[in-house]
């Protein structure tokens, strides 16, 4: 298959996925469009090296996450994680459905959003993958660390968020 055809096929199968990832990193539609275009460019540039060792979705996530961390772009230093109240996997971060319902109230949700943006760049990347509903193993494959390391990092992020959101009342276990 020609490179152009492979590219178009990947694009048609993963358009939504890429767009969702882009939405996490900017609320501005122009910035989202720029990032979307940059992801497409990087998919093209990396396509010659795709050997099919991983699932195409994992491969696309890698390109998208690595693009978001890209050092030439303006996004790196001011990178923010934008989460919507209708994000399907929100409860996976909050680990608590009642807390999720509470935080869907606008003011509280803004606080949650602010706390998310206090996280480090890599923690934001981990959260964005979690929000995509990826398994720990898949996240580990994308970032390139062990599954247990991913679990530890995500556990720490959850504890940090809960502590912040409950005003420091959450107990560390």
């Amino acid at each position: 298959m020609k490179k152009e055809d492979r590219f178009n096929q990947i694009l048609s199968e993963n358009r939504e996925r890429i767009q969702r990832i882009c939405r996490y990193y900017s609320s501005n539609s122009e910035d989202q469009k720029d990032m979307y275009q940059e992801v497409l460019v990087n998919i093209w540039k990396s396509l010659d090296n795709f050997r099919g060792d991983s699932a195409i979705s994992t491969w696309v996530y890698r390109v998208a996450v690595n693009t978001s961390l890209s050092f030439t772009g303006k996004a790196f230093k001011q990178m923010k994680l934008i989460v919507n109240t209708d994000t399907q996997n929100l409860s996976s971060i909050l680990d608590d459905e009642s807390l999720e319902a509470k935080y869907k109230e606008e003011a509280r949700f803004n606080q949650f959003q602010n706390e998310l943006n206090q996280l480090s760049v890599i923690d934001k990347a981990l959260i964005s993958l979690m929000l995509e509903g990826l398994k720990m193993k898949e996240i580990a494959d994308i970032i390139g660390i062990s599954e247990s390391n991913v679990k530890v990092k995500i556990h720490r992020i959850k504890i940090y968020l809960k502590t912040k959101l409950t005003g420091g009342k959450h107990e560390f276990k």
Binding site: L11, K45, S70, F71, I122, I142, G144, N149
Partner: protein, 175 residues
């Protein structure tokens, strides 16, 4: 956010042009070391049979070796830097970036070797009639100037990128 079909086609068109440009540059390197260098070698042999000047021969061979090293080095360098593979695991991509943006690379020793061969070529080539001392002054001056300019460019353009990459790597690897 949607790029429409036209936008995508334009984007793919640009990317294909970029690929074609790379292929052209790569072909230029091939021309240098598969055509021009053997031609220059033949001219050198012809010149030796006419003049019987051994110094001239050594000088010409030094030029050829220098050109060969430069062509091979820049071809390899261009291939390595042409495209960053964004599909690598994040930590691997970051490590590659940190390595790519180091101010000094061991492999750059090849450039120095090529420069030394060129230096020897200029000194030994009797037809050029250059003073050995003058050649050394110009060469050392040019080398120092190139290093200073390179370091300034690195500091302005790449140091921040490398520092960011190293800090994210440290964060990912922290237990």
């Amino acid at each position: 956010m949607n790029l429409n079909r036209n936008n995508i086609e334009q984007l793919v068109g640009k990317l294909k042009t970029e690929d074609a440009r790379y292929a052209r540059i790569s072909r230029s390197f091939q021309i240098i070391y598969w055509i021009l260098i053997p031609v220059y070698l033949l001219l050198t042999i012809e010149s030796l049979t006419e003049t019987k000047d051994i110094n001239q021969l050594i000088g010409d061979v030094c030029f050829i070796i220098s050109s060969l090293i430069f062509a091979l080095f820049f071809d390899k360098y261009y291939k390595e830097y042409k495209y960053v593979d964004y599909a690598l695991p994040t930590i691997q991509m970051l490590k590659n970036a940190a390595n790519r943006y180091k101010p000094f690379h061991i492999k750059n020793i090849w450039v120095l070797i090529a420069v030394l061969f060129m230096d020897a070529g200029l000194c030994l080539n009797s037809s050029l009639n250059f003073s050995v001392v003058k050649v050394q002054i110009y060469f050392i001056g040019a080398l120092i100037l190139a290093c200073i300019i390179g370091l300034i460019v690195w500091r302005i353009k790449y140091k921040g990128i490398r520092d960011n990459a190293l800090s994210v790597i440290a964060e990912i690897e922290r237990e």
